[in-house]
């Protein structure tokens, strides 16, 4: 039975989540050097084009068609049988296609998140092939396992409200392995890159925060109390994490920075994502306050120590924040918030924490291994990295023959 309020909210949420990819483009675009800003915007926008088509042709079917095993198969390819009537196993009160297009936006932003790891040095052609293969062989199976009918992590009872595992840990771990196998940017030690346009980073953060209401509150798939809970805890966690990061910097470096606050807010949004439909507001504050501590350590201590060049901290924010969020579900989940969920460790159910741990572990191993394989295959056929001269000249000129800012006129 189609409910018009639910349908309106899910369509609106789909539009909100779509906006997160341009938001991410500016968030990341501001962080790179000015010779590479267009390459980042281009990568984000081409993902919107290519994966939108991929999703309606095969992506949705591979991810959500009911099946046991590696993925959903091709039963729903080209949206065959995905109509305007509800499909009760996913959402009983909205047209099936509304659910499909909402999920499409998640499939777009997830590979776009990885861009932060290989920014400023990846060949555009290789990036396209990598993204298509990754969407097919990493995103679709994992999405199926966690959210699809017949998926084994779903059957195991793993809770992921809006994509902590499927989106953030998944993209974050892929980011780490690509950063490692791709190698550092040239001349990194001598020439430390600084963000070329901090206002872009702030603009991107603001739009991400706004779009994230669609991401989390929309994941209720209905205009109901659960959506309101998700909306409230999302805003609360983002606020506490933004504040927390700024305070950590203030104590640690003597001054709070807008870059730090933005990083914190995004980390908070990441961490609350898997938990938004299962926790109440006080746990949301704790999740937010602590995620900035973990991510701050990841990007300022762990990254320099191990020396991988995760250019824009896709791993440090999304994977670390995502893992904390997924585990926090196992700690703070409460049936008082969501009767369809379960209780976490602090509400007398230690088993849930274990289940969450298994889901995180499976994601890290599966995505880590498969991403390396895809990367190596692409490298073998077209080469993933631009030559040194192109890297120094910048990807805008060498990959796209454009530049973002003129000096004369």
């Amino acid at each position: 039975m189609i409910n018009s309020g639910d349908t309106a909210w899910v369509l609106m949420s789909a539009a909100l989540v779509l906006l997160m990819t341009p938001a991410l483009a500016f968030f990341y675009g501001g962080m790179v050097r000015r010779k590479n800003v267009l390459s980042v915007l281009m990568q984000c926008f081409i993902v919107m084009c290519v994966l939108s088509l991929h999703w309606v042709l095969i992506g949705y079917s591979l991810s959500f068609a009911p099946a046991k095993g590696f993925w959903g198969g091709f039963a729903w390819a080209g949206l065959r049988g995905v109509g305007l009537e509800p499909y009760a196993d996913y959402a009983g009160t909205i047209p099936h296609q509304a659910f499909m297009i909402y999920q499409c936006m998640f499939a777009i932003i997830t590979p776009a998140l990885i861009i932060g790891a290989f920014a400023e040095r990846m060949k555009f052609s290789a990036f396209l092939v990598f993204t298509l293969l990754w969407a097919t062989f990493v995103y679709a199976p994992l999405c199926h396992w966690v959210w699809g009918v017949g998926g084994f992590l779903r059957n195991l009872g793993a809770l992921d409200f809006a994509g902590g595992t499927v989106v953030h840990i998944n993209a974050g771990i892929a980011a780490l392995v690509t950063a490692i196998v791709l190698g550092k940017r040239t001349n990194l030690e001598k020439n430390i890159p600084t963000p070329h346009n901090m206002p872009f980073v702030v603009l991107g953060t603001g739009l991400l925060w706004f779009g994230w209401f669609g991401f989390n509150a929309g994941s209720a798939l209905a205009a109901n109390g659960l959506a309101v809970n998700a909306f409230v805890v999302t805003n609360t966690a983002a606020a506490s994490a933004g504040l927390s990061w700024a305070l950590i910097e203030w104590l640690h470096n003597g001054k709070p920075t807008i870059f730090g606050l933005c990083s914190g807010a995004v980390a908070g949004l990441v961490a609350i994502t898997p938990a938004a439909g299962f926790v109440s507001v006080i746990p949301a504050i704790i999740i937010g306050l602590l995620v900035s501590v973990f991510c701050f350590i990841a990007v300022t201590v762990i990254k320099p120590k191990f020396g991988y060049d995760d250019s824009l901290d896709a791993f440090g924010v999304h994977c670390v924040g995502g893992i904390w969020g997924a585990l926090a579900v196992g700690l703070f989940a409460s049936k008082a918030v969501n009767a369809a969920g379960t209780n976490g460790l602090f509400f007398g159910n230690p088993r849930q924490f274990l289940v969450q741990l298994i889901a995180v572990g499976v994601t890290i191993i599966f995505t880590g291994v498969l991403t390396v394989v895809i990367y190596k295959v692409v490298d073998l056929f077209i080469g993933v990295r631009v030559d040194k001269k192109s890297e120094l000249m910048g990807l805008d000129l060498t990959q796209h023959r454009e530049r973002a800012y003129t000096v004369l006129e």
Binding site: K35, T186, N187, K190, N191, I192, K389, L392, M393, L397, T398, R401, E402, R403, V407, L408
Partner: protein, 113 residues
Amino acid sequence: MKLIIAIIQPDKLEEVKEELYKVQVNLITVSEVLGHGRQMGVTEIYRGAKESGNLLRKIRLEIAVNDNFAEPTIKAIVNGAKTQETGDGKIFVLDLKECVRIRTEERGSVAIG
């Protein structure tokens, strides 16, 4: 007194500065410029229209030094900016007639450092 003008690759600025500090040259002016040498730049394309202005971003350094500092300064710039590939840049050395420190109105060699 000499005025040393150098055109270098943008990503070499930090290394050149490091080398200059090593020989106690701390006063430099840096500006962003466009230009091309033998590389002839890159053709840009905007909505199909080819733009063959093809100027590349470079960094221009201006350093005024006393004569005994001229050679160390030149060596420092070379050490920092040289990769042995086309596009490393150029150094121009000019005689400098006068130098005035605005605050004290001192002139010549004392005003330079």
